[in-house]
């Protein structure tokens, strides 16, 4: 048992945090995050040069990481700085291209941007609900919803149904209709409309690969949430020490103290389950622990975001003050790759399956 970061990961974490601390202030972030194209091409290239993308891929695929712990380190730092560039699709595309045995050098050096089109209006989280389909000539038809990074993507990886199974197709942006928009928590996405769109079939029977990419994505989102939650918590505790009302700092009121402590406790628990999910990634129980982590992150996230606002008071309701942007990101993470209830249902069905029917008492 060892809870230290490995030397390599500590260096990656230090480098990335230092870069983001120096170069990625909240003011800059907000100037980029809410206006098309919802990202900064210079920062994107710098992230690639720092090795952030390569850290998400295994050596076999041309990277130098790709394990749960690497993903955690990167996304926690991104969450701390509220990075709005779409790094999540890089991670998920890397897992999928790897499973398909495709070259991903363009992905990892930042020159080719991918989107991963998974969700549909009636299939937000579960791949078994997917209705987008492909024909024998690899023409893909369907609507993909809230595809993160689709507004920038050169290529879209599409999970589509063909003869009852899920296959993975690669669609050039010119072969799809993409309706881009900015998101409420910053950054961009798009609706991807496919109407007998030309595609390359890159992986048949891709359910396991998609599940793995989703598990990795969940570890990433949970880690991002940890970074954002810790920052929101620290800002809250600082504010409790500064703000005076009734002639004293509001942090001297026990009712606020205890609520701040409860934030800390929830973040520690959320961090623990995220560590566990990261450790299990790629193993037989990856989906189960990813589900546990995403459920807890959803619950803790809502508490941290809402309490950060409430303990601050009116100031946190303003666009100007940073906590509001952290709160939005933390809350909206629950809308990506399965929400609190979706993942709870997975644990509930595990419960049911864990007990053989013993008849009546």
């Amino acid at each position: 048992m060892d809870f230290h970061l490995t030397e390599d990961r500590r260096m990656l974490s230090d480098t990335l945090n230092r870069y983001l601390g120096d170069q990625y202030g909240l003011e800059h972030r907000n100037s980029v995050a809410y206006e098309a194209p919802y990202y900064d091409s210079v920062k994107w290239q710098e992230l690639a040069e720092l090795g952030v993308f390569a850290a998400l891929a295994t050596e076999k695929d041309g990277g130098f990481g790709g394990a749960g712990g690497d993903i955690s380190v990167v996304f926690e730092a991104l969450g701390k700085a509220l990075v709005c560039e779409p790094v999540l699709p890089v991670l998920m595309a890397s897992r999928l291209l790897s499973a398909a045995g495709k070259d991903q050098s363009g992905l990892l050096d930042g020159s080719i941007k991918y989107g991963f089109a998974l969700s549909e209006p009636d299939a937000p989280y579960d791949i078994s609900d997917i209705t987008t389909s492909a024909d024998a000539f690899h023409k893909v038809t369907g609507r993909k919803s809230a595809v993160y990074g689709a507004h920038l993507a050169d290529r879209i990886l599409v999970a589509a149904r063909r003869e009852g199974q899920i296959n993975l197709y690669e669609v050039m942006k010119t072969d799809a209709e993409i309706i881009s928009y900015g998101m409420i928590d910053g950054g961009g996405a798009g609706e991807v409309l496919l109407d007998k769109s030309s595609a390359d079939l890159i992986l048949q029977n891709a359910a396991a690969a998609v599940k793995d990419a989703m598990n990795a994505g969940v570890v990433a989102l949970c880690s991002e949430a940890i970074g954002a939650m810790e920052t929101a918590y620290e800002m809250t505790v600082d504010y409790l020490k500064q703000r005076k009302q009734f002639g004293r700092t509001i942090g001297s009121f026990q009712v606020l103290q205890h609520r701040a402590v409860d934030m800390l406790t929830e973040i520690e628990q959320a961090r623990s389950i995220t560590i566990k999910a990261a450790a299990e990634l790629g193993g037989p129980d990856a989906s189960r622990f990813a589900a546990m982590a995403k459920n807890m992150i959803g619950r803790a996230g809502r508490q941290i975001a809402e309490e950060a606002i409430q303990l601050h008071g009116g100031i946190a309701m303003t666009w100007e003050y940073g906590v509001s942007h952290y709160a939005k990101r933390i809350i909206m993470i629950d809308h990506q790759l399965g929400d609190t209830d979706y993942h709870l249902a997975r644990i509930m069905s595990d419960l049911s399956a864990s007990q053989v029917d013993k008849g009546s008492v």
């Binding site: 048992m1 712990g69 020490k241 402590v261 389950i273 509930m348 049911s352 007990q355 013993k358 008492v361």
Partner: protein
């Protein structure tokens, strides 16, 4: 980052497992499984078995007769004991007074008392709380006045757990009313057979007897029974409480409780459907399972930190808060799962079996009520929050 036990630790785990399967008497495990109160004989028996193996005083360093385990080994031992339904070690001598004497006691006190803790000759109990000093422990009023080479003690202690079995009590007493309340407290060892001591049982919410009130009327205690210096008892008290908090997460107990709720809710039916397949119940249970899974890692992270820093930090308060609430939630589900079958008063039931319910569930409701204590004792969860506010948030 590596969440797995080392091969040495796994080997140790196997050693503990095989010891437990070979040495834990089935009738004791059965009583634990049924949430039955244990008799003094059962507790003594288990104490003796552990001592014989050298695994009784797990928190003691080797030089005093402990096994010299790492925090991780202690964790493994506790978890395996829970899994096997071994009783919890009565902590007052081994886990509380032992470490105090090792750090603050005189040579003579160590030589006299430590061996007797191990042998079971002395059964210690705790004289901390008073009717007017619960969470505000420093306001305690039990007086000890030095007369010659004896202290004369007058006052009242309460919540003295298992005092009915004890022959000795360690007490916090007031030896000075000068200065801050914390500055006039001393740590005193008292023989319960001394004239002027009366122990009265307190009947608890579920009907059981596990705590007592202790009354002191002109009780004469040899001055040599003072531990450390006079008026410096508060430091000792805090040291003891920090030891009390390690292992306070009760992860092993909650893991066992979770398995029980799963098993019960697979047996209990609502119509044709198993309760475990009822979405409302399953959702509640799944939420706790997730919380507990996180708690396991939180516990290991803090053990790891304690191992690195040599002592548990204030973060252990997080374990107390979360651990107690998770345990209480599980006991709540175990009670609710039974529905009307939870109704009989266990005082009227002879063993753990209800007439119509699943095995070992007769005490589920009683256990729920009894476990409301876990968020109160050892420093209530609100006091734990105050500790975190001061030490980590620095508000």
């Amino acid at each position: 980052m590596d969440l797995n036990f080392t091969s040495e630790e796994r080997e140790f785990q196997n050693e503990v497992r095989s010891f437990l399967s070979g040495n834990l008497p089935e009738y004791i495990a059965a009583a634990v499984r049924a949430n039955h109160g244990l008799t003094k004989d059962m507790m003594d028996k288990w104490h003796t078995i552990l001592n014989k193996r050298g695994w009784l005083a797990t928190v003691w360093p080797k030089e005093f007769g402990g096994p010299g385990w790492s925090p991780v080994q202690k964790y493994i031992f506790e978890e395996e004991c829970c899994r096997a339904y071994a009783p919890r070690i009565v902590p007052f001598g081994t886990n509380m007074l032992g470490p105090v004497l090792q750090k603050f006691g005189s040579r003579a006190q160590r030589d006299e008392y430590l061996p007797r803790i191990l042998s079971g000759e002395d059964w210690w109990c705790q004289g901390y709380s008073e009717p007017g000093a619960g969470s505000d422990l420093a306001s305690l009023k039990t007086r000890a006045v030095l007369e010659g080479d004896e202290y004369v003690v007058n006052g009242q202690k309460t919540w003295t757990t298992l005092g009915q079995h004890a022959n000795k009590i360690f007490c916090l007493v007031r030896t000075s009313t000068e200065g801050k309340p914390q500055e006039g407290i001393s740590f005193l060892l008292v023989d319960l057979n001394t004239l002027g001591i009366e122990m009265r049982p307190i009947r608890l919410i579920e009907g059981g007897y596990e705590v007592n009130e202790v009354f002191f009327t002109n009780v004469r205690v040899p001055a040599k029974n003072l531990v450390g210096q006079e008026n410096k008892g508060w430091t000792i008290a805090k040291y003891l409480l920090s030891h009390e908090r390690t292992g306070i997460a009760g992860v092993g107990f909650s893991m066992q409780a979770l398995e029980e709720v799963k098993a019960i809710s697979a047996m209990i039916k609502r119509g044709a459907k198993r309760l475990i397949d009822d979405p409302l119940f399953a959702a509640r249970l799944a939420l706790i399972e997730i919380d507990l899974e996180a708690m396991k890692i939180t516990n290991l992270r803090m053990l790891f930190r304690a191992q690195e820093q040599g002592a548990p930090g204030p973060e252990t308060s997080i374990l107390k808060i979360k651990g107690s609430v998770i345990n209480q939630e599980l006991k709540d589900l175990a009670r609710r799962a039974l529905g009307p079958l939870a109704s009989p008063f266990p005082g009227h039931v002879n063993d753990g079996n209800l007439l119509f319910g699943p095995p070992d569930t007769a005490f589920n409701a009683a256990c729920y009520f009894n476990n409301r204590k876990t968020s109160i004792f050892g420093g209530s969860n609100e006091i734990q929050r105050n500790i975190l506010v001061k030490t980590i948030l620095e508000l």
